[in-house]
Symmetry: C2
Subunit: 253 residues, 2 copies
């Protein structure tokens, strides 16, 4: 965080190494370049392997490095600013929506989602699966839960599943008057299916955005969206989800 | 995520264990209770220690477990909903602000913050340090950067540092007409000083919220707030940062 006259807490060894490594990344390595192996790096900086590994883990958490099986550790590009919703809000699937419908089928939501939707314990809802691609990369996977109180059984639709059915559910949902929405962001770990969609290993850290959509005085739909924490910076703007155009805040670098 | 007809990806062994453990936490353990040691747990569930450890790490990432030095692994309380700003926005330090000013002094911000503030590379700004307490626990630490173009040198103030000076800077800042703000959320790791303020170990995962405040056609201040990722769910409401009152979405449980 630059020089400051308020720093008073001593920093552990790997933390100092992290700062030194971070500067080396800036000056000596290009985005996408593969780092030397751990043994060579530890020797170069005169530290134990364990210390080096801790520093590398921190840099991965901060989005500076990417570790991929079979490739090694590479220098990550700056995180992408990904706009999350607008202040006033629109229904999922509205014009300009960045999400692509992938699938739809009946499902019993988790207890927490069921509580928000006020559905019964074993009650099925429409579960729409969508994905979001930014700059050619998959950045997020979403499960959107729509109870039959919002969109009844679609008897007139031929498609029992798939993107066509997803679009049909979204079209019906958009017929309700949206009264508002709220949103929560928390840390989570990627489920196996999300991890596959996001090109990550199961259990990778993700940012989970839970959005409740309100209509007719109740929660009409709940979206649980899982964003890659390594490549994404979620942005919230004043005016319809404007992206921050400046570079990422390199926290603690 | 309950039963669903869309699940097609096989889940790794530790993932299944995580689900089983999660159910055991719900049915057999109370919040704050200390878990049996790893050897006993591995024996009970008939898995290798490495598999158990992976599952425990996932549950920690999802906020179900807390691991503390000298205490062991305990069952975590549900994450707290912590409201992050309002849609329309107010200056830091406005009435009802949840943050407590702790300190203030001159500092040279990081290159990224300097770029947002359009200050020169070595230019000093006011750096206000604030903390946020919720339900008796420290949940976040903030560094607020205010350039002298927003608040000039405070020659009339006796206090060269401390909370009194912080309040003086915030008071001056509030004299500017706030035109808007935007916000970004990303994953980070706790710096040593933040970690101390948040009662965590350095490098612990945190949610970093960067807010830009706009006035007079430029960025008048930048806040970098570090929230505990283990205990906090950041909430964004339609109407002035309303909290979500329902329980957390237990992602992937």
């Amino acid at each position: 965080m630059g020089t400051t006259q308020l720093e008073t807490v001593p920093e552990p060894k790997y933390w100092h190494l992290k700062t030194v490594l971070s500067q080396a990344l800036d000056s000596e390595f290009a985005v996408g370049e593969i780092l030397p192996n751990e043994r060579d790096l530890a020797a170069r900086f005169g530290v134990a392997r364990a210390t080096l590994r801790q520093a590398l883990e921190q840099l991965e958490l901060e989005g500076r490095l990417q570790r991929r099986r079979g490739v090694g550790t590479t220098v990550a590009p700056p995180r992408m600013g990904v706009a999350v919703g607008s202040a006033q809000g629109t229904w999922p699937g509205a014009v300009g929506d960045a999400w692509q419908p992938a699938d739809c089928g009946p499902a019993v939501p988790s207890a927490d989602v069921a509580r928000m939707l006020e559905t019964l314990p074993e009650e099925q809802v429409h579960m729409v699966r969508r994905t979001r691609v930014s700059h050619g990369q998959p950045v997020a996977a979403e499960l959107l839960y729509v109870p039959t109180s919002s969109v009844p059984e679609l008897t007139g639709i031929d498609a029992p599943s798939g993107a066509a059915r997803a679009r049909a559910v979204l079209r019906e949902l958009a017929g309700l008057g949206l009264e508002g929405q709220d949103r929560a962001v928390e840390l989570g770990s990627a489920r196996a299916d999300d991890a596959k969609a996001l090109d990550r290993l199961p259990g990778a850290p993700v940012l989970v955005v839970t959005t409740r959509f309100f209509a007719e005085g109740r929660t009409a739909a709940v979206s649980v969206a899982t964003y890659r924490a390594d490549t994404c910076r979620l942005t919230f703007g004043d005016s319809g989800g404007v992206e921050i155009h400046h570079g990422p805040e390199r926290h603690a670098s």
